[in-house]
Symmetry: C2
Subunit: 322 residues, 2 copies
């Protein structure tokens, strides 16, 4: 038994988890400068080469609402599918579902907010109206033989309302299950998740919808993103979303970090004895490449620091005790 | 039982821990521009107002070696001691010990590296020679009635040698105990600590030197600094070092983060049900103030994001699902 496997076993961590890369959609959607379609495709292909198998690749949303993702169909068409990657896409409405089906995505994701005021602000309708609208999306997807997943934004707190009751999460998850959606992602939209909340929400979901797969999507807005992952692992969660480089900000605090960085997540998982099938160094290289595409530093740490056991030359630096 | 206390109890976390602020010494020592003595003093006083009670305040080192800390005696003399803060200072040699004793510090810290090559590079002597030299420091301190603490740098890995054997740590801790030093800090000098290593090293130390207090000093160089704190808490560790704003870099990777940020540490501790006696919001305010002093953004997250439950106005931003 190695030291890392021992650690994973002590906490009851799963042996292996799935890392879902959301950078191409969640990471890029708010970028004011258009990122070339070829770069978006290269981003996915590079990460697929590194071993990532699932991507939230884009969103079939109105180009007026999110101009950055107006090339959704081209991105899906351009990705090298020979690696058997799964490309999921956000679909806000039936029109998006039709387009996503035509583009032959592997899964569609519908989303609403656990908080009523955030949902109204985000998509201009009540939670009830959102759920109602998903029925047609599900029916379009079903006809095309495509799975539908459900996301729940502000699942750990709302920037307008404060705490979000856990019942809001389980109610939505039950409604999702009622329409055949059995993959639910809890989104920490503005970085309000804490380890005890992760425990509470995972347990409540397990009890409310035992057949549903739970995925966790954390932001590092208050520095505890990976601690929340640790809490999720201890609850047996096997699906985590992250963004290469930590692309994608917090929409409520200028300068604050958003998504946890894929390279940091993979580094931590491996060091804690959890397998991913992903090459951590190749992911770090992709993060460095991504900084080049974006023309700026990104929040992820692992790529800047380099591999843990990379040795420095003795004359590399003048050191001082740390 | 609250949700947070429940979380702490599940993991066997201590009820309360001590946070040692190392920003004034470790955070500043490598800054090329001299920080005004009044700012260094204000830094300590502000954090003391926020409830921090222990500081690594400066280093009585040669002003030629570390010009930034040439004002060590003035800093110690300038701090408002009415709040009963404990000011510890690094002392590299007997001359430093004499100066520290004259300045009436509360504790002196001697340090060496667990790795032979890092120790030679850092202080130009073997570990054996370092330990030998500490005897005189201890005797000067004892005469002045001042406690001595021992730090062990590169305790989780060495940038030159790679992995550091746990026996190197326990040997040094035993040598420290042999000269009456019963407070040992494990320093993660270049961010190579991982949760399983934290577990291994804390347990080995407990067994080797059961009377010794263990403090942990992590860097966030690879993003897992607070996850390492979590691992330390589960081992019952009650003393953690951090730096306001995350001041202080990694000397081996340009652009990489160094010390974990005090405001993020305190936020995480409180959210995980561990008490500190510190006002998290006041610490975050101090971090924002520190960014002003430094004239640049610092790596800490909690101050940028603001309090977890601070509500945004509904018209504050145009949001999109995250």
């Amino acid at each position: 038994m190695t030291r890392t496997a021992d650690y994973a076993r002590r906490y009851g961590f799963p042996q292996r988890v799935r890392v879902v890369e959301v950078g191409p959609r969640d990471g890029l959607q708010a970028e004011p400068e258009f990122i070339a379609t070829t770069d978006k495709i290269a981003m996915i292909d590079r990460l697929a080469s590194a071993g990532i198998r699932e991507f939230e690749a884009t969103s079939f949303v109105s180009p007026r609402a999110v101009p950055q993702l107006r090339d959704a169909a081209e991105v899906i068409a351009g990705v090298d599918r020979t690696r058997r990657v799964r490309l999921t896409t956000l679909v806000p409405n039936p029109r998006g579902a039709v387009a996503a089906a035509a583009a032959r995505v592997d899964a569609m994701v519908v989303f609403l907010s656990a908080s009523e005021s955030h949902n109204r602000k985000n998509v201009n309708r009540s939670r009830e109206q959102s759920l109602e609208g998903f029925r047609e999306v599900v029916s379009i997807a079903r006809e095309a033989g495509i799975t539908v997943r459900g996301a729940i934004a502000t699942a750990f707190g709302c920037p307008f309302e404060g705490e979000v009751d856990v019942a809001a999460i389980t109610d939505i998850a039950r409604a999702y299950a009622g329409m055949g959606i059995t993959h639910v992602t809890l989104g920490d939209t503005t970085g309000m998740a804490t380890p005890p909340l992760v425990v509470e929400r995972c347990r409540a979901l397990r009890e409310a919808v035992p057949q549903t797969d739970i995925a966790l999507h954390f932001h590092n807005t208050r520095g505890v993103g990976l601690v929340n992952v640790h809490a999720g692992l201890a609850e047996g969660i096997t699906i985590f979303e992250s963004s290469i480089g930590g692309l994608g900000g917090c929409p409520f605090a200028p300068g604050a970090t958003g998504n946890i960085a894929t390279e940091d997540l993979v580094y931590m998982l491996h060091e804690c004895g959890v397998e991913t099938g992903i090459d951590a160094d190749a992911v770090a290289d992709a993060a460095a490449w991504m900084e080049g595409v974006m023309g700026r530093k990104l929040p992820g740490q692992a790529a800047k620091a380099g591999p843990r056991l990379r040795r420095s030359a003795m004359d590399a630096v003048a050191t001082a005790c740390g």
